[in-house]
Structure formats: C-alpha cells, structure tokens
C-alpha cells in the first residue's frame, strides 16, 4: 500500500494525463490511476494490439500523450487497470485492482479527471441485444477495429452521432441512416460555432463524410422503437419537435442489425458526489457537475477537478483544465509557480472554447422531450428492470425526491449504480412533478462504486472498511 504519493490523479484522459505531465514538468511526482489498459480517455482510447492504420477523423495526439507519459515514468506512476471505487471528503481513496484487491491511498491533493458518460433516452425495445451506445460502437473500433456487419441505424443528437457514423462508414460499415433529433443548426448557431473555425471544420468534415457516401440523415427525427424477435432487427423512426417530442407525420421502419443510440454526454459525477462536493446544474455543460473555482478546486479543499467530469467542454477544454489544475496543485503544495504562465495561456484559450461549447449545446443539447419516446412499459433501469410506469407511480404516491424514488422502485440501485439510467430518471421526475430538469435532483453515490469481493474490502484497515 502506497500512502506516500503527494498527488493522485484519477483518469488518464486528456485532462488527467495533461495534469500529470504538467506536474512532472514542475518536478512534482504523481500517481495516475485509470481503469483502462492504456492512457487516452474516451477521445484517444486505444487497444492492446497493433491495430494498423489510425482511425479516421482522429489525430496523433493520443499516441504523443502515451509516449510523453512513458518518458516521464520517473515522476508519473501511471497505473493501468486501477479503478477508483471510493473517494472520501478527507481525500482518502479506495482503489480496485484487477477486480480483486482494494487498496487505500491518502494523498495531499487529488485531481479528479474522470470524464463523461453517454446519455441514453430509453424507448421501447432499447434493452434488446444489438442496441449499443454510440460510444460503445466507437470503443469497439478504437480498441479492436471491430465494426458492425449488416445495416446499422444510429440515432441521437450531438457531435458524437455524426463522428461515429463517419468513422464506421470509413470501415465500410453499412450505415442505413443517421437519425438526428436536432434540426439543421440555425444561421445564428452556425455563426457562433464559427467562432472556433477549427472545431467547426471538424464537424463539417464528419457531415461531408456522410454526404459523400450518400448516407441519409433524418434531421428532427428520433428512433422511437427498437423491434426484433429477441435481438434488434429494425427501428421505427418518427419526426420530433424542437423539444424532441415525437409528433404526427410519416413514420418509417428501417432494418437494422445493429442500433447505436446516444443523446450527448454528461459529466461522470460519482466520485465528486461521494466526496461531498457541491454540485450544480448547467444545461450548456451537460447538466449536473461539481462546482469549481477558477483554480479548478471543488468545494472540498485540495480536491481539484479537470475535464469533462466538471461540465462538458470537449477535449480542448479538458487539455486546458488539466494544465490549470496542475498549476493550482503545484502552488498548493508549496512547490512554486513554475506553471503559472502556462496556466494563464490555458485560461485564455478557454474563454472562446467555452463559447463554442455553449453554441453546440444550444443546437444539440438535451431537450425536455428526451423521454417522450418511452411508454409506461419501457424499462428505464436496465439493472433492476424498472419501468417508466413504476417510477411515475412512485412519484404519484408522493415520492417527489429522487432518493426516495430510487429506494421505492430500486431504479438506479442495481449493478451499475444508476450510471445508465440517471438522466432518464431525472427527466421522468421532472415531467411527473412539473419541475424543471434542474430541480429533479441528483442521486447520491455509495462506496464501493463497483462490486467488490468482500474479502477485498476486509483487507482495508478496520476503520476504513466499515465506511
């Protein structure tokens, strides 16, 4: 058990890895924990084997990052396959290794950089095998160069939708249709997106990748049903209004051997919730996330937060926040302000990037009708098989807060601890109580965050194991 490390960084994506590299630049050592086999996070995810030519629409920065981490191996203790399953207000961490052993760390400062999770909108049949997250289909490409065989229909909203479509198509996957809940961006939105010409150009490249291959994009539409015998074999597509509520109009059934769904991403708040940080809701940054000051410090002293885990900003913001967090940690440890200039530059970059993110959210961010495609019988919580009707009934019975609704229905209480169903649960709470989404509440998390063998917990010092 290593309790001596002064700084622990959780998550080796762009934000966390950059924080570690910046600290190393200032001569400060850190432990970098990530549950994956390689650094890179979501955007620069990679596999174990030599995968041949790079994925379309990606850059080489992921490989550079991995090289840099190796080069600074003397100062950066990057531990792959290490999942943080507990984080407490006194900065103790529980780390699960290989699914078997739990150790405890107690650093002076922590940078949480755990990124985002995909947002799902349950519809009838979405639990069938053959339905994957857009990020899931992308992960198969990134780690394994595995792609769907047979017609694919992708549905949702946001940049990931068309990026994944274009990437799949570049491998020769048969994309039958892309179903986008958002309409074409308005000219005002395009203008605001153009404030970051480089990022807008990327988006247009995905669009062109689809157009060039003749892939139909149904805008202002949503997948409202996944049908099939046991596994998915078709989807039903319906037009939706500007709030993503299905409206009258022609519906079409499309054959699909593989269905991809995803309505954008939201901050993964499980660790900051456990640690007792204050959280806030901001529609333009993907909903709930912990609040931070300009030094990236949360309301828990010496607990810093960088990247998409602190509100969705995308990879460029994550990189900038990683630098800023490292500079703050360095100062806090009394290790000097060697990173000050670098952090000031990063702050400068962020202003425009955040404006771009606002425009993106304005165009494709989650709308109140996100759950309108579900019915009474639609399963919302896949772990515990809880339907929309059961959740609505609990609200009608007087449980108007999310915690009691969870206890009463078991929604969000299963193996995944609500990581999949929380946005849907919040949307149902909002519509059943007539409150805005921002007031639907944020469930608490409980340690350990993943199933842990009892004997592993028993290895912890006694006062910790009874948490």
């Amino acid at each position: 058990m290593n309790t001596a490390a002064p700084v622990v960084i959780v998550g080796a994506g762009p934000a966390g890895a950059t924080a570690a590299l910046s600290l190393a630049e200032a001569g400060i050592s850190s432990v970098l924990l990530d549950d994956n086999g390689a650094a890179g996070g979501q955007v620069w995810r990679t596999g174990a084997a030599d995968l041949g030519p790079p994925l379309a629409y990606t850059d080489a920065r992921g490989d550079e990052l991995r090289r840099d981490l190796k080069r600074h191996g003397d100062l950066i203790d990057h531990r792959t396959g290490h999942e943080v399953v507990g984080l407490f207000p006194d900065l103790r961490l529980w780390v699960l290794e290989g699914g078997e052993t739990v150790t405890s760390l107690h650093p002076k400062a922590i940078v949480v950089a755990t990124g985002a999770l995909e947002v799902f909108a349950p519809v009838p049949g979405w639990t069938r095998p053959g339905v994957y997250g857009l990020g899931g289909l992308q992960a198969l490409m990134k780690t394994s160069r595995v792609v769907p065989d047979g017609p694919v229909v992708l549905g949702g909203a946001g940049p990931l939708l068309r990026l994944v479509a274009a990437q799949l198509a570049s491998f020769g996957a048969e994309i039958a249709a892309v179903v986008d809940a958002a309409p074409w961006p308005s000219s005002g939105q395009v203008l605001r997106l153009a404030s970051q010409p480089g990022l807008l150009a990327k988006g247009l490249a995905f669009e062109w990748g689809l157009l060039r291959r003749g892939i139909p994009v149904h805008r202002g539409s949503a997948i409202v049903e996944v049908a099939g015998d046991e596994e998915a074999d078709s989807v039903l597509v319906a037009p939706v209004d500007e709030n993503w509520r299905p409206v009258d109009g022609p519906r079409r059934r499309l054959e699909a051997r593989v269905v991809g769904l995803g309505y954008g991403v939201r901050s993964n708040v499980e660790l900051t919730r456990l640690a007792g940080c204050e959280h806030t809701f901001s529609a333009s940054r993907g909903g709930w996330h912990a609040t931070r000051n300009r030094d990236m410090e949360t309301t828990v002293e010496n607990l810093f937060l960088a990247g998409d885990g602190g509100g969705i900003g995308g990879v460029e913001v994550a990189l900038a926040e990683g630098v800023i967090a490292a500079a703050s940690v360095s100062e806090r440890l009394g290790q000097g302000d060697r990173l000050k200039t670098k952090a000031a530059k990063a702050r400068g970059r962020m202003v425009d990037l955040v404006r771009f993110q606002d425009a993106l959210a304005d165009w494709s961010g989650v709308r109140p009708g996100i759950l309108a495609g579900s019915t009474e019988d639609t399963i919302i919580c896949r772990c515990e098989d809880v339907t929309r009707g059961e959740i609505a009934a609990a609200v009608a019975a007087g449980y108007t807060d999310i915690g009691p609704v969870k206890m009463n229905t078991r929604a969000g209480m299963g193996l995944c601890q609500g990581r999949t169903c929380t946005p849907a649960l919040q949307a149902i709470m909002a519509s059943e109580t007539g409150r805005p989404l921002a007031e639907a509440g944020l469930p608490t998390s409980r340690a350990p965050l993943r199933p842990v063998p009892l004997k592993a917990l028993a290895q912890l010092p006694l006062d910790e194991a009874v948490e």
């Binding site: 549950d35 699914g99 990020g135 046991e230 593989v258 896949r382 098989d385």
Partner: protein
C-alpha cells in the same frame, strides 16, 4: 447471428471455454468484442423479467455485459482481456458479490 466483423488480422489465437464450448479467440482482445465477433449478442438475462441483454456501453459503465469468468460472477467482459484457458459462462445465474 454474427453482427460484427473484425477489420484487422488476428495476431494469435488462444483457447477459451465459453458456456462449455471450446473457442479460439484473439489473445489480449477485449473479451466482449471477441464474443460479439464470435456471433454472441445475448450475454445475460435481466434480473427481474429475464429478458435477454447484451453489452451497451463497452466502456465499463453499464454492467450489461457481465459474465462469470473463472468462477467469479458479474465480471464486465468489456473490461476483460482474452487469456488462454479462461472459462466464461454467459447468462450465469447472478449471485450478488457485493
């Protein structure tokens, strides 16, 4: 029915037992990916209504891809690398390990 294909050549195959059946899978590959390419889509049955389920997120978040691996229940196949000689039981009756 196979719904996925591999676009790069496999480097080395190892023997794995899946539901009592011997399979040759690429060593070090993400187990969920290898099983999907091998034609498996239904990984588990849901706890209450017993509906078929398969992987969803493929990034360790959703727990829909769990299987019993070498006797340990509820292991995420999307977080597990293929190893020679491993025994995988899909649709294994779930027993809480938490």
């Amino acid at each position: 029915m196979t719904r996925f294909r591999r676009t790069t050549p496999v480097q080395s195959l190892v023997s794995v037992t899946v539901d009592g059946r011997a399979m040759e899978l690429p060593e070090g590959e993400v187990l969920a990916a290898a099983l999907l390419v091998g034609g498996m889509g239904r990984f588990s049955d849901s706890v209450r209504v017993g509906e078929p389920r398969g992987p969803l997120c493929l990034m360790g978040s959703c727990f829909q891809c769990v299987a019993e691996i070498d006797g340990t229940p509820q292991v995420r196949t999307c977080r597990t690398a293929v190893r020679a000689g491993m025994t995988v039981a899909l649709n294994a009756p779930s027993s809480a390990s938490k």
